[in-house]
C-alpha cells in the first residue's frame, strides 16, 4: 500500500530532496532554502496526486483527475525558477529582460487558460511558454560563462550542473509540451509511454541537481545556488 507512493518520479525527487537537505541544510543562502522548499512542495504534490488519482479513477468527466494539482504546482515552479535564475544571472528580476518580459506573459496566459478550460485541464500553453523562458535563461547563463574571465573548474561547478539539469529537462520535454494535445488525442490509451519519457527526463533533472548539491557542499561552497 505504501509502495504505491514510491513511483520513479517520487523516488528520484525524494533522493534529490534528501541530497539537498544533507548538502544545503547548513547553507545560509536564501536560494538554498528555496531549493529545499521547492523540492519539498514538489515531492508532496506528487505524493498527494497519487491517492487523488486512485480515488477519482472512476471519474469519467475529467480525463486527468489530479491535474488541478499540477496547475497549482505550475505557479510554484514559475516563481521558483524565476527567483533562481535571477540569482544565477546576478540580476534583479526587473533588470533581467527575459524574466521581466516573460513573467507578465506567463501570468496572462495562466489566467486566460484557467478562464477558458478551468483547473481540470492542464495549462499546456503556459507550460510551453514557461519552458521557452527557462531554456532561454539557461542559454543566457551559458553565455555569461563564455564571457566570464574567471578560471572555473566546470566539473565541480555547482551552478553549471544545476542549470544543465534544467536545460536537459526543459529542452527535452519541449516535444512533449508542444505535442501534448495531439498525443493526448492520438494516443489516449498510451499515457504510460509519455510517462516513461517524463520519468527519464526527471531522472536527468534530479540526477544533475543532486550532483550539483554535492558539488556545492563539498567542492564549491561559495557559489550562488
Amino acid at each position: 500500500m505504501v509502495l504505491q507512493y514510491f513511483t520513479t518520479n517520487t523516488s528520484v525527487e525524494l533522493v534529490c530532496l534528501i541530497s539537498a537537505l544533507v548538502s544545503l541544510g547548513k547553507s545560509r543562502l536564501c536560494t538554498s532554502w528555496f531549493i529545499i522548499l521547492f523540492l519539498l512542495i514538489t515531492v508532496t504534490t506528487e505524493m498527494v496526486a497519487i491517492p487523488i488519482k486512485i480515488h477519482y479513477l472512476k471519474d469519467t468527466k475529467h480525463n486527468l483527475p489530479n491535474i488541478w494539482l499540477y496547475n497549482l504546482l505550475l505557479i510554484v515552479q514559475v516563481a521558483f525558477y524565476n527567483i533562481i535564475f535571477a540569482a544565477l544571472l546576478n540580476k534583479k528580476i526587473y533588470r533581467n529582460p527575459i524574466l521581466f518580459i516573460f513573467l507578465p506573459i506567463l501570468f496572462g496566459f495562466y489566467v486566460y487558460e484557467i478562464s477558458v478550460h478551468g483547473l481540470f485541464e492542464y495549462n499546456e500553453l503556459t507550460n510551453s511558454i514557461f519552458s521557452t523562458e527557462i531554456v532561454l535563461c539557461s542559454l543566457v547563463f551559458y553565455y555569461d560563462l563564455f564571457k566570464s574571465d574567471l578560471n572555473i573548474k566546470l566539473g565541480s561547478y555547482s551552478d553549471f550542473w544545476f542549470v544543465t539539469g534544467i536545460l536537459f529537462f526543459f529542452f527535452g520535454s519541449t516535444v512533449l509540451n508542444l505535442f501534448y494535445g495531439i498525443i493526448k488525442q492520438i494516443l489516449p490509451n498510451n499515457k504510460h509511454f509519455v510517462g516513461y519519457i517524463y520519468n527519464a527526463l526527471n531522472i536527468l533533472l534530479y540526477g544533475f541537481w543532486s550532483y550539483s548539491f554535492i558539488c556545492k557542499r563539498w567542492l564549491t561552497p561559495t557559489l550562488t545556488v
Binding site: F171, G172, V175, I183, L187, F193, I197
Partner: protein
C-alpha cells in the same frame, strides 16, 4: 502499428532534443578548457613581462653605474688630479706664474663641475619616468658624444605622445643603451644616427652606424652583450619587432617598431 510509429517518432524527436543540450554542454567544456589554457598563458606572459621589466631596470641601473664609475675614474678623477698637481706646483714667489697656474686650476675645476653636471643628467636618465624617453635618449647621446669618437645625429619627432608608457620607455631605453654598447665594443664606427619617430600608433627607433658591420648569422653581438636575439625578444615583449640590416664594411641599421604608448 500506427501507435508504434508515433511512439518511435516521439522518442526520436525527444532524443534529438536531448542531443542539442548535450552538444552545448560538451562545447562549453571544450571552450572552458581552451579558456583556462589562455588564462594560464596570459598569466605566464604577465609574469615573464614583469620579470623582464625588473631585469631591464636592474640592467639600466647597472649600466648607469658603470658609466658613472668609468667617468669618475677616467674623466673627473683625471681633472681633479691635474687640478691638485697644478695647485701643488704653484710657487708663491713667482706671482706671474702662480697667477697662471691658479687660472688653470680654476679652469680645471670648472670643467670638473661641468662634467659632474653631465654625470648628474646621466643619473637622471636612469629615472626615465621622470624625464621622458626623448630626453633620456638625448642624454645618452650627449654622453656618447663627449667621448669625441663619434659624430652623432639625433632626431626626435614632434609627434611622440606626451602620455608615455613608463614600462615601454624603459625597455626602449635599454635597447638603445645596448645598441650603443655594441657599437662601442664591436662596430668601430665614427658616425651614428639615432631617429625616434612616431606615426599611426607606432614608435620607431632607428639606430644606424657606419661601422664594420657583420654577416647575418655571424653577428659579434650574439656573443657579446645583449645580442640581437635579445633586442628582438625585448621588442616582442612589448608587442613590437626589430629589423636588423647589416653588411660587412657597410655598417649596421637597427629599426625597432613598437605600438605606442
Amino acid at each position: 502499428m500506427a501507435n508504434t510509429n508515433i511512439n518511435s517518432l516521439i522518442i526520436l524527436t525527444t532524443i534529438i532534443f536531448l542531443i542539442a543540450p548535450a552538444f552545448i554542454v560538451v562545447y562549453i567544456f571544450i571552450y572552458n578548457q581552451r579558456k583556462k589554457r589562455h588564462i594560464e598563458e596570459k598569466k605566464m606572459m604577465q609574469l615573464t613581462f614583469a620579470s623582464e621589466l625588473t631585469k631591464t631596470q636592474l640592467e639600466v641601473q647597472e649600466q648607469t653605474m658603470q658609466t658613472i664609475g668609468a667617468d669618475l675614474h677616467d674623466n673627473i678623477g683625471q681633472l681633479l688630479s691635474l687640478t691638485s698637481l697644478t695647485l701643488n706646483s704653484i710657487e708663491l714667489d713667482n706671482k706671474a706664474k702662480a697667477r697662471q697656474k691658479i687660472d688653470d686650476s680654476i679652469d680645471l675645476t670648472l670643467r670638473s663641475i661641468k662634467e659632474m653636471r653631465l654625470l648628474g643628467h646621466l643619473l637622471q636618465g636612469d629615472q626615465l619616468m621622470a624625464v621622458g624617453l626623448v630626453q633620456a635618449v638625448r642624454q645618452l647621446v650627449s654622453w656618447m658624444e663627449r667621448s669625441g669618437k663619434y659624430e652623432i645625429v639625433y632626431t626626435a619627432g614632434d609627434e611622440i605622445p606626451a602620455n608615455s608608457n613608463a614600462d615601454k620607455d624603459l625597455i626602449i631605453f635599454r635597447i638603445t643603451q645596448e645598441v650603443f654598447n655594441n657599437i662601442i665594443k664591436h662596430a668601430a664606427a665614427t658616425k651614428i644616427t639615432v631617429d625616434l619617430d612616431y606615426a599611426e600608433g607606432m614608435l620607431k627607433l632607428g639606430i644606424g652606424d657606419n661601422g664594420v658591420g657583420f654577416v647575418a648569422g655571424d653577428a659579434p653581438a650574439l656573443q657579446h652583450g645583449m645580442g640581437l636575439q635579445n633586442i628582438r625578444k625585448r621588442a616582442g615583449i612589448i608587442g613590437g619587432e626589430a629589423a636588423i640590416a647589416s653588411n660587412v664594411g657597410q655598417g649596421t641599421q637597427i629599426i625597432v617598431s613598437i605600438p605606442y604608448p
